[in-house]
Symmetry: C2
Subunit: 292 residues, 2 copies
């Protein structure tokens, strides 16, 4: 059984990108530039945004943080989106969600020019991905694809079972893995709350991706011997083993499942560290241009 | 075994729409108006377009045909698309594909305003469908969903196997049937050329949808006893039994498969007649407004 080290892989990719950015600069090009719009003071969001900015600095990207107070108007945020769409200095930008209730998330996300939509949440980005056209793929699915590639895990012809049908993980994963591409070509089944005989369906998976946000849901009896198990869950649960009193728990019961696997991602340190890296990769792609 | 009568169902829906349009007119509203852009003289395309216009007339829609010769420039077609986007008299329009080689299909289709994209081929339409947002669903998948509804075939919790991963049938079907909606909630598996043990995977299907365009591909050994079989294939093959010397053959070997089924669609007369009806339904939705 091999534990897929997302942290190490993410670091490797960051170093590769840092080298590429250094080369770009040597060649007289400007560094890629990511802008982040943050509204309010949600603890989780502030941490995510800080980590994104830090990662930008590490690999030599320019970054700009636009931080509004909670009471900023929807109009003001939309105006900023239009401004960033038209600002040639900005290669890509994201609006950190969740937004306060008085601001429509879909209105704001749909106002982003899809050519700068490095989060890949815009309907055009999702549609282009589904149609197999070039475009930005959202961070978590693209991070998982990258992990499978780096660990040389074959997907073609494999049965792949995805638990969870969310717009940001399950749905795009099912599309990417079943597409006619070198990192696709799997026979994909989507499992969700209405699926009957969930354990039986899961046991078909040569590759099993758990992304429903239910800690410890996947137990050993649901996993095929020798399967590759990717755990996307990250639920914060109480713990007396950590200083903070909390720890992250995945959707997979690691202790009992891991002995049956050929490969497995841990939580934390598996899929999680890959997400920021994927956002940065999208920004680098945007900066290079020629995608659209 | 019940044969799903697509022709009759399509006629019923056309009559329902005709009644609705008559009511709209009585209430002083204008009739829905579909425009069709056709380039050149491809025999298949001319027939399709003629049937679409005829169906419009039957149910009381206004219709406009813009017919260009083969040598029309891409610029001219794009100009027309912009004109139709801005024409308030037109509720929805389509550009009939295929287009001649010197005109970029994707460029033309992407120029259509998604609010008038009644064919549902625009990346925004596909993205909105994938995200579960209101939008236009392309004709064949929405016709199949309608047939399942009209025949009260339960999808929730059923295993559904879709053969073929095309952008216009397999992919959207897999999304619609697995979504959290009354006509979805199925456990969906996508089968394609790289799938191993295709017969075994197909036999899991309580609902089996064949959409790969390979005449007679699905044989009795690939079908679960009591399954619902939907045949989307329509390949023209030579025949000495018809006056024209041709007949349409589906992806399912009807003779051997049908005795095993609870429900099955024939070819012709199954899914086919539903596609035009779905286009008209989209046009009616566009005319009613309030979707976006």
């Amino acid at each position: 059984m091999i534990i897929i080290d997302g942290k190490e892989t993410a670091n490797t990719i960051k170093q590769e990108m840092a080298a590429e950015v250094a080369e770009m600069k040597t060649a007289g090009q400007k560094a890629p530039h990511l802008a982040v719009v943050l509204v309010g003071h949600d603890g989780g969001s502030e941490t995510y945004v800080r980590n994104k900015i830090k990662a930008c600095e590490f690999i030599g990207f320019e970054s700009t943080l636009i931080h509004y107070e909670d009471d900023v108007s929807e109009e003001e945020v939309l105006k900023k989106v239009v401004e960033l769409n038209n600002d040639n200095a900005i290669d890509g930008f994201i609006v950190q969600v969740p937004l306060p209730d008085h601001i429509s998330e879909s209105k704001v996300l749909e106002a982003i020019d899809f050519r700068k939509d490095v989060d890949g949440f815009h309907p055009v980005s999702v549609g282009r991905m589904a149609l197999g056209l070039p475009g930005f793929v959202s961070a978590t699915p693209s991070g998982i694809i990258e992990l499978l590639k780096r660990y040389k895990i074959e997907t073609s012809g494999k049965e792949c079972v995805i638990i969870g049908r969310s717009n940001i993980v399950g749905r795009p994963m099912s599309i990417l893995l079943s597409q006619k591409t070198p990192s696709g070509n799997a026979t994909v089944t989507m499992v969700h709350s209405r699926t009957q005989n969930i354990p039986e369906v899961c046991r078909r998976g040569d590759i099993l991706i758990a992304a429903m946000g239910s800690p410890g849901f996947v137990t050993a009896d649901m996993v095929k011997e020798g399967a590759v198990v990717i755990d996307v869950g990250t639920t914060r649960i109480k713990s007396d083993q950590t200083k903070s009193g909390w720890k992250l728990k995945g959707d997979v019961d690691f202790e009992t499942v891991s002995p049956k696997c050929s490969y497995i991602t841990p939580v934390p340190g598996g899929v999680g560290p890959m997400t920021i890296v994927s956002l940065l990769k999208n920004t680098l792609l945007a900066a290079k241009g020629g995608m659209f």
